[in-house]
């Protein structure tokens, strides 16, 4: 049943999403792909939209995917499911287990989890950038337009960081990429 799947899928995401929104994206991809809810393409679009609309990215993605799979009720269920674990954990930690997180065994577990999340995010990033430029490993093809776009975006990101001495905001990069996309693919 789709409502139950949405609830369980996003509950899993909520339980394991360490490291903020970017840590959650690989998990959400995992869940979405394993249930076959969306194509990789569509999910990437949704990530971009979630990134450019207000609010926590994870919540936005859950609402989005829930709504695309099962309308309004699906959106409500997915959103509540993604939030529920952190809500309960914070209540537990602040109300009862004030020292639980300082426990050395808990810390040892967290020391394993955090670098693993970083590795997962790194692999997902590499896979996506490589996939955009060269397609699947089994059928490599050179997507010239995508390579040009990647070069433009990376150059403007580092250029901005170098001259403005601060990071280019993700929203600006997305707007820039939309304009560059219209230009490069429109010609």
């Amino acid at each position: 049943m789709i409502y139950l799947d949405l609830f369980l899928g996003f509950l899993k995401v909520g339980c394991f999403a360490f490291g903020g929104a970017y840590g959650a994206i690989p998990l959400i991809r995992d869940v979405v792909m394993s249930y076959g809810w969306l194509s990789d393409e569509m999910l990437t679009y949704m990530i971009a939209v979630s990134e450019s609309t207000p609010g926590p990215i994870m919540v936005n993605l859950a609402t989005y995917i829930g709504s695309s799979q099962a309308g309004f009720l699906g959106a409500v269920i997915a959103t509540l499911a993604v939030v529920l674990p952190s809500f309960l954990i914070i209540l537990l930690v602040t109300a009862l287990l004030k020292t639980a997180l300082k426990n050395k065994y808990v810390q040892a577990v967290l020391r394993g989890l955090k670098p693993c999340v970083i590795g997962i995010v790194l692999a997902t990033g590499i896979y996506m950038v490589f996939g955009n430029c060269f397609g699947a490993i089994s059928a490599i093809q050179i997507n010239l337009q995508a390579i040009i776009l990647t070069a433009i975006l990376v150059a403007s990101m580092f250029g901005y960081r170098h001259f403005a001495k601060k990071k280019l905001s993700p929203i600006l990069l997305i707007v820039l990429s939309a304009i560059a996309g219209m230009a490069v693919y429109g010609i």
């Binding site: 909520g14 679009y45 207000p54 926590p56 693919y185």
Partner: protein, 192 residues
């Protein structure tokens, strides 16, 4: 004003006006809850941020739940958390009704092809930022590199293995090594 309504509205405002998720929200929450409303102290705010780093889920939700609970117990936590969620929920519901029609337009489809590339770059960039902040020790590095390699294989060869199982293995490995070392008392671990 009723404290519950106040909590809900304040967090709804924060939810509606912060773009880019987590860390952008922390400064908004600090500004509203610590400086203006004085619901929690600056130290408490710092503590929640550390807790948020060590617990799963959106950081903004963690902060909202904590502040709400401090001010008005369980119901307060509920009001604040709903406050953060409702605005983005409404915005996304509206957008999701139109996205498919939008994508049918060639020019929008082209824009999204560009956006797809930006998303990949953003994720890779986030990974590099996290690596820079990571503990410069052998074990975390080894776990990070092994996880990255396994995750790449999962993606490339479509292995039927979830990233959650990978995280559980990393946790068990780290805990086992810790116990085998005689569970020494050490500080840190939750550092950014």
């Amino acid at each position: 004003m009723n404290i519950l309504l106040d909590l809900f509205l304040t967090f709804a405002k924060i939810g509606l006006f912060t773009f880019g998720g987590g860390y952008a929200m922390i400064s908004m929450i600090e500004n509203n809850c610590v400086e203006r409303k004085q619901w929690i102290t600056h130290d408490e705010m710092m503590n929640v941020t550390v807790i948020a780093e060590s617990t799963p889920g959106p950081i903004a939700i963690n902060c909202a739940t904590f502040t709400g609970y401090k001010k008005a117990g369980f119901v307060g936590a509920l009001a604040a958390t709903l406050g953060i969620i409702v605005p983005s929920f409404v915005v996304i519901c509206l957008i999701s009704m139109f996205l498919d029609n939008f994508l049918a337009l060639t020019i929008i489809a082209n824009a999204f092809k560009g956006i797809k590339i930006a998303v990949g770059i953003l994720i890779l960039d986030a990974a590099f930022t996290m690596i820079k902040k990571m503990h410069k020790k052998k074990l975390p590095r080894a776990i990070m590199i092994c996880s990255a390699i396994v995750m790449l294989c999962i993606n490339i060869f479509a292995w039927n293995f979830s990233s959650i199982s990978l995280m559980l293995i990393a946790a068990v490995v780290s805990l086992t090594i810790f116990v085998l070392n005689g569970a020494p008392d050490q500080k840190g671990g939750a550092k950014k």
